[in-house]
């Protein structure tokens, strides 16, 4: 607890001591942390391999960009619209494929991600601006205050990340959170215990996608320009790796994963050539020595009688 408090305090004042470049790096870390947490619901908690998460991020970002530039709706007001668009898109594509197991689902989600990226590049419906994307997205305003500089975005993204952590922590420790864990552990047993497995797979997929859609809104607002290249397969891979290496099903793990995957490469920019090599080696080592991730999911605690009200030992 003290550790988390200390980290939180340090991060709260960090922009005062960092130059705009590093604040922007932290903004990216925050954005990927939100994306990682949303994917963690799907991959970490439900065990559904989704390697196309960038598609939902893209749907959110493009929804924000189109509605903002065409109808001048303030970007932050568009958060629910982005969530809805990404969630609907996920529901439509997941419905026929969600029953696929493991690697099959993985391949289909890769396909979906690529199809969407190519569709965006080809200016689908004439509204996505083709390869150039959409520019001129307006700056977000909070109570009339326009958010423009990196350190201002820092607090906006930070606030959204905090809300995400808070809500997802509660979600993990609930009937819903347990249900998706059951289906990850053993689908037949889950169904046999009375859990509607296909409903929960779809629900968790849509929820994770909707959250990525909202992250897309923040991304569009931060960049003011979005283009298909921001939503490539590589982005999906990074999000996936954040979850798997950080710790499947663990909020602290995913946060650490985001720092390692998005923050560290910036710190090692000088070794740009060797960066991927070091990264690849680190991943191989991880997968051998600690397959459950750096900070794996911990058992939930329950208020058991006779254990002081905080739950028994593991």
């Amino acid at each position: 607890m003290y550790i988390y408090g200390g980290i939180f305090a340090a991060l709260a004042v960090a922009p005062l001591f960092l130059n705009p470049y590093w604040v922007d790096v932290l903004n990216n870390v925050g954005l990927y942390a939100i994306l990682g947490l949303s994917l963690n619901l799907i991959v970490g908690h439900a065990g559904l391999f989704n390697l196309g998460h960038a598609a939902f991020f893209a749907v959110g970002a493009y929804t924000a960009a189109i509605l903002n530039t065409q109808f001048a709706i303030p970007v932050l007001w568009l958060l629910p619209a982005c969530a809805l668009a990404a969630g609907l898109f996920a529901a439509v594509i997941a419905r026929p494929i969600i029953h696929l197991r493991g690697d099959y689902l993985c391949i289909v989600t890769i396909g979906v991600g690529e199809i969407l990226r190519i569709a965006l590049t080809n200016d689908i419906f004439g509204i996505t601006g083709g390869p150039n994307g959409i520019f001129g997205i307006s700056r977000p305003t909070v109570f009339g205050y326009v958010i423009r500089k990196p350190h201002e975005f820092y607090y906006l993204i930070g606030a959204f990340l905090m809300i995400t952590i808070f809500l997802f922590h509660r979600l993990e420790n609930s009937r819903f959170g347990r249900a998706v864990n059951y289906l990850r552990e053993d689908e037949t047993a889950a169904e046999g215990s009375g859990i509607d497995t296909s409903h929960y797979k779809l629900a968790v997929f849509v929820l994770g996608a909707a959250w990525a859609g909202m992250a897309g809104d923040l991304f569009a607002a931060k960049m003011t320009i979005i283009a298909p290249e921001s939503f490539s397969f590589w982005e999906s891979v990074v999000m996936f790796a954040i979850v798997i290496l950080g710790g499947s099903g663990s909020i602290p793990g995913v946060l650490l994963g985001a720092v390692l995957f998005v923050g560290l490469p910036e710190a090692f920019r000088d070794f740009a050539d060797a960066r991927m090599l070091i990264f690849g080696a680190a991943m191989v080592v991880m997968m051998i020595v600690r397959t459950e991730g750096i900070l794996p999911q911990r058992p939930r605690l329950y208020p058991l009688p006779g254990s002081g009200g905080t739950g028994g030992k593991a």
Partner: protein, 253 residues
């Protein structure tokens, strides 16, 4: 009064007739045993009742309602819970959470209620926890709540499956070889547990190879061989039935 009624239930896998025109009734409050040599189709019958397999023909009536092609989770909610022959626990989750899985279908709160932690969701969570602890105590696993399921002994894992099934508040529990892998002492305790399940007014249908358990615990026995029902009756009647003796021991020539 009949709780569960199977009529002409048939299922084949490729060319193999696993279950052939099987019919029998399970009366309310009874303990019924389903026995037969290996490969007789006992587990397939269970899988047809609980919706894990789809029947080719025939019907399954539960409280007069046709549930033949229902999906498993709906059947559980209606009041049929089961255990598995090959233990299927959530191995990496705690003992307590395994039982909470059974409570799931009697709860309602969704993701929004969880995020907002509504009073209703909290109340429901508290009630589920109490129920899960009670079921663990009922099968004799009190005090092991926070163990991981995979760390339990084989016999305890079987008991945990029973606790999970009971947590669904079933009218009928279906136990697939509950004494499999248990020693004599554990089996004796299990017979006691089955008796107490019955005292709670829950009907039991079980598959078991341990004949001492079957003869002690069951009041009615159905015998299957090659997918067909060859005998049905009280333990004494079934034990003396020449067809049953032949199925188990073979004929002299």
């Amino acid at each position: 009064m009949t709780l569960l009624s199977l009529t002409g239930l048939t299922k084949s896998f490729g060319g193999l007739m696993a279950v052939n025109e099987v019919s029998f009734d399970v009366p309310v409050g009874a303990v019924v045993g389903l026995i037969g040599p290996n490969g007789a189709g006992k587990t397939t019958v269970f899988n047809l009742i609980t919706g894990n397999h789809r029947a080719d023909r025939g019907t399954v009536l539960f409280e007069g309602r046709d549930i033949t092609h229902w999906r498993t989770h709906r059947i559980v909610k209606l009041g049929i819970a089961r255990t598995f022959q090959t233990i299927r626990l959530f191995q990496n989750l705690s003992v307590l959470e395994n039982v909470l899985a059974g409570c799931h279908c009697r709860m309602r709160s969704g993701p929004a209620a969880a995020m907002l932690r509504t009073p209703g969701a909290r109340r429901e969570e508290k009630a589920a926890l109490e129920r899960a602890l009670a079921e663990l105590a009922f099968v004799g696993l009190a005090g092991q709540e926070m163990q991981l399921a995979k760390n339990l002994s084989y016999g305890s894992q079987r008991l945990l499956e029973i606790a999970r099934a009971l947590a669904t508040e079933p009218k009928l529990v279906i136990l697939d070889e509950p004494a499999g892998g248990m020693n004599e002492q554990e089996t004796a305790a299990l017979i006691g547990t089955i008796g107490r399940i019955r005292q709670r007014g829950i009907t039991t249908l079980l598959i078991e190879h341990d004949m001492s358990l079957v003869m002690k615990a069951c009041e009615r026995i159905v015998v299957l061989e090659y997918g067909s029902r060859i005998a049905e009756g009280t333990p004494e009647a079934v034990q003396g039935d020449p067809k049953v003796i032949e199925a188990y021991l073979g004929t002299e020539d």
